[in-house]
């Protein structure tokens, strides 16, 4: 069978940056899925964009050279923009990495999905039929309604599907999907992967870019491992992942959170640090409706405990975190801190005990004053806590070099920022640390390091942890107890291994299934 995509010696460089891809070879046949894996910055996205002739998109113009470069049977080694444009949309469908921003928010989903058809002069009735068909094939319910909506009105999962619909609407022979599942929670992600699987089975060649090895294992037939713009390993997926030959592949595999933390739950005799009883929080939405973000939540956190909170997006995890640190008041119910009233007190009387609880927010960058250097951020936290330690000592706790002190948060990497946020939280020597999605934005290797750090901290300092995540594997690696949330309620609560192996609530089982099929 002739290859849909055949690339040899692809080299891409940017002025001032240098070569980002060096001599990459790829070959992809219809009805197969080729995965490109690698660490962040390895060049995966550049490679994907090169396939549609847009390597330099969004930055400096790229210099592309290849020994052999054919897409859908056409030699594009020296193609001009006109040639490329004919390929794009028609022969190659593309799903961009930033799924949430990839649909024009000002236009209807229908217009966006049908754009590649319109560009080819397909008439309105025909276009409409095919758009609805593509939306249905992408697994969206009520295609008609969706087509009339705009991206702002869709959830993340829906947007991702709509984007896939727009990529497959003209039934291309090649579909390129760049990280199609990163922004999604486990259940939704599974749906998207299944969709790609069906497309492949229907004969479309799929080029899947991902750093999520679980996803790759499920979907891909072959895999290439990219590192620093070079292919370091390639082959059938079972071979490469089952028996990694290259260090980079091994490191990637090792970083996948796996297994449980073998540690007994803390005994009930340990003193309580936080106790929530009957927490209720209802949000009014403009237009009269309301959501119950929290609907009767009871929870106890004891000293030295690591409690995990899991649940799908919108289940109320972040709301619970805000209640626990008294960033917000519950409508009903109360939170006690170390056996004393907490949530119902006025801020004035809470302030002197604030050092006992710390929140590490979901988006650490936003929580730093952009004008302050890391040193000043820590200094300020230490001063408020009345601590005599130095910023450098805090950095040591989170294994950051002292050179970070003079830098602004914006210039730090994602992992470094997360560490800085944790360091700031530790300034006060809190008795409980609430972490909202501490690793969701990080790449696997960095993720593993942060999780190790948390375990280490808890063991060394005895701080209680409340870790919020939608990723069960993450929780299992760090926590000994877990609470599963669904629609503002805790549907399951107990030691991690117990929940893991004999979940009672149907929702927990669904979540576990989705996650399990990943690994």
């Amino acid at each position: 069978m002739s290859a849909v995509l055949d690339v040899a010696g692809l080299t891409v460089s940017f002025p001032g940056v240098g070569e980002v891809l060096r001599g990459v070879d790829l070959r992809l046949e219809p009805g197969r899925c080729l995965a490109v894996v690698g660490e962040s910055g390895a060049g995966k996205s550049v490679l994907a964009r090169s396939v549609v002739g847009l390597a330099g998109e969004g930055g400096a113009p790229a210099t592309v050279a290849a020994e052999r470069f054919t897409v859908a049977g056409q030699d594009v080694t020296r193609a001009d923009q006109r040639r490329w444009r004919r390929l794009r949309g028609e022969q190659v469908g593309f799903v961009l990495q930033d799924a949430l921003q990839s649909l024009d928010p000002l236009r209807t989903v229908g217009a966006e999905v049908g754009e590649s058809l319109k560009l080819r002069g397909v008439g309105l009735p025909e276009r409409r039929r095919r758009v609805l068909d593509a939306l249905a094939r992408a697994g969206l319910d009520e295609p008609e309604t969706r087509a009339a909506q705009r991206s702002g009105e869709l959830s993340g999962g829906m947007r991702q599907r709509a984007l896939i619909a727009s990529a497959i609407v003209s039934e291309p022979s090649l579909l390129v999907a760049d990280e199609p599942t990163t922004a999604l929670d486990a259940t939704v992600a599974r749906g998207v992967l299944e969709l790609l699987g069906r497309l492949r089975d229907a004969g479309t060649a799929v080029l899947l870019v991902s750093h999520d090895l679980g996803a790759v294992a499920r979907l891909a037939d072959d895999v290439v491992v990219l590192d620093g713009g070079r292919v370091v390993e390639a082959g059938p997926v079972g071979e490469v992942l089952g028996d990694p030959a290259h260090d980079v592949t091994r490191a990637l595999l090792a970083a996948v959170p796996r297994g449980a933390r073998r540690r007994a739950p803390v005994p009930a005799s340990e003193p309580e640090v936080l106790r929530a009883t009957g927490l209720h929080r209802r949000y009014r939405l403009p237009g009269g409706q309301a959501v119950d973000a929290l609907d009767g939540v009871d929870l106890v956190v004891r000293r030295g405990e690591a409690l995990g909170v899991v649940g799908e997006s919108g289940s109320g995890k972040s709301t619970l975190a805000r209640m626990l640190v008294a960033a917000e008041r519950p409508d009903a119910g109360r939170v006690e801190l170390a056996g004393e009233p907490w949530s119902e007190l006025p801020e004035r009387r809470r302030r002197y005990r604030r050092h006992l609880v710390r929140l590490v927010p979901q988006d650490p960058l936003a929580s730093f004053d952009p004008r302050w250097s890391a040193g000043r951020i820590l200094q300020s936290a230490l001063r408020i806590a009345g601590s005599s330690r130095t910023p450098a000592q805090l950095l040591e706790l989170v294994r950051l070099p002292a050179s970070v002190l003079g830098r602004r948060p914006r210039s730090l990497s994602g992992g470094q920022r997360q560490r800085l946020a944790i360091a700031r939280a530790l300034a006060a020597e809190p008795s409980v640390l609430v972490l909202d999605e501490p690793v969701s934005a990080l790449d696997v290797t960095v993720q593993a390091a942060i999780l190790d750090l948390l375990v280490d901290l808890q063991e060394r300092t005895g701080t209680a942890l409340v870790v919020i995540s939608h990723d069960l594997a993450v929780i299992r690696k760090v926590c000994e107890t877990v609470a599963v949330m669904h629609d503002g309620r805790i549907v399951e609560h107990g030691p991690v291994e117990q929940v893991w192996h004999n979940a009672t609530a149907p929702f927990t089982r669904a979540l576990l299934e989705a996650a399990a099929s990943d690994s």
């Binding site: 960033a327 302030r351 050092h355 929580s367 004008r371 300020s380 700031r424």
Partner: protein, 288 residues
């Protein structure tokens, strides 16, 4: 090498690094703008350094001398040296811009912060006030003020200041609200920082810094507005070499003595453009 020398070198390196960092963030356009602004500032603060003559000394016999040796930018209808006047006018024109902007800003700060951080009722009232102020075009406001206070730089400055205040207030209100309710202020409050301290440490600097950019932009605008008042005969008092007044006086001789309009006209546009450009650069450099 002695430690002393090493220290010096380190200091010198630090300076060089700082300047190159600035140069990089400003870009070539920004650097040129900055140079222009520095030059104009110099003219404003120390005019005699650049033009030792008397800007008001008349010499009717030398009237309408075209640019050339003796009079670099020519002379005006009264034989006054245009170059000297342009240089000496910098102080007033720049001062006018700065003063008007200062008035607009301080009023904007009061209105904006009041609306953003005060009680909800106050916000409603102040927002309305701002809306109404906005509804009065600046020149209309200026006309009224000049009618009350008489012509002159003072009333013009006040008028332009008042007219620009609602703009600043709006920007400030939006920003102050965003910052005050934003994640890093919340993070600080959750650490136990008190509200006033958080205001001083976080809200104030993060709200005002982006305003620096807006304000430099505003100075340029204010200079232009005050010059428009001069056109209506309501601006600077004679014989002040305010650029707008010079431009207006020269306007009538546009076909016979072009240099009378070109010199102050360029002074206004180049200064205002440099300030605007710098403002925009600062705006992009300022952390959001």
């Amino acid at each position: 090498m002695t430690p002393d020398l090493a220290l010096n070198r380190r200091r010198r390196d630090a300076v060089r690094e700082a300047t190159t960092r600035w140069a990089r963030t400003l870009g070539p356009g920004g650097a040129v703008s900055a140079a222009v602004v520095v030059l104009v500032l110099l003219a404003a603060l120390w005019p005699t350094l650049l033009a030792p003559g008397d800007p008001t000394a008349v010499a009717p016999a030398q009237a309408y001398t075209p640019p050339g040796p003796g009079a670099v930018l020519g002379t005006d209808a009264s034989g006054r040296d245009v170059y000297t006047r342009v240089v000496h006018g910098a102080g007033q024109s720049l001062g006018v811009g700065a003063a008007a902007t200062a008035i607009g800003l301080s009023l904007g700060v009061v209105l904006g912060f009041g609306a953003a951080l005060g009680p909800r009722r106050l916000d409603a009232v102040l927002s309305r006030v701002v809306e109404v102020l906005f509804a009065l075009p600046s020149l209309v406001l200026a006309l009224l003020l000049v009618a009350v206070l008489g012509a002159g730089v003072g009333p013009s400055v006040l008028a332009v200041g008042l007219a620009t205040a609602p703009g600043y207030a709006r920007i400030l209100r939006a920003r102050a609200q965003a910052v005050a309710q934003g994640p890093y202020v919340q993070a600080a409050r959750l650490e136990g920082m008190s509200a006033p301290v958080a205001f001083v440490r976080h809200v104030l600097p993060n709200t005002l810094w982006p305003l620096v950019a807006v304000a430099t932009l505003g100075i340029g605008q204010a200079i232009v507005w005050v010059s428009a008042l001069s056109y209506l005969g309501l601006g600077a008092l004679p014989p002040s070499p305010e650029w707008g007044a010079m431009l207006n006086a020269g306007r009538l001789h546009i076909t016979t003595a072009w240099w009378l309009t070109v010199a102050p006209g360029l002074a206004i546009t180049v200064t205002a453009a440099a300030l605007t450009f710098l403002g925009r650069r600062l705006g992009t450099v300022a952390p959001a």
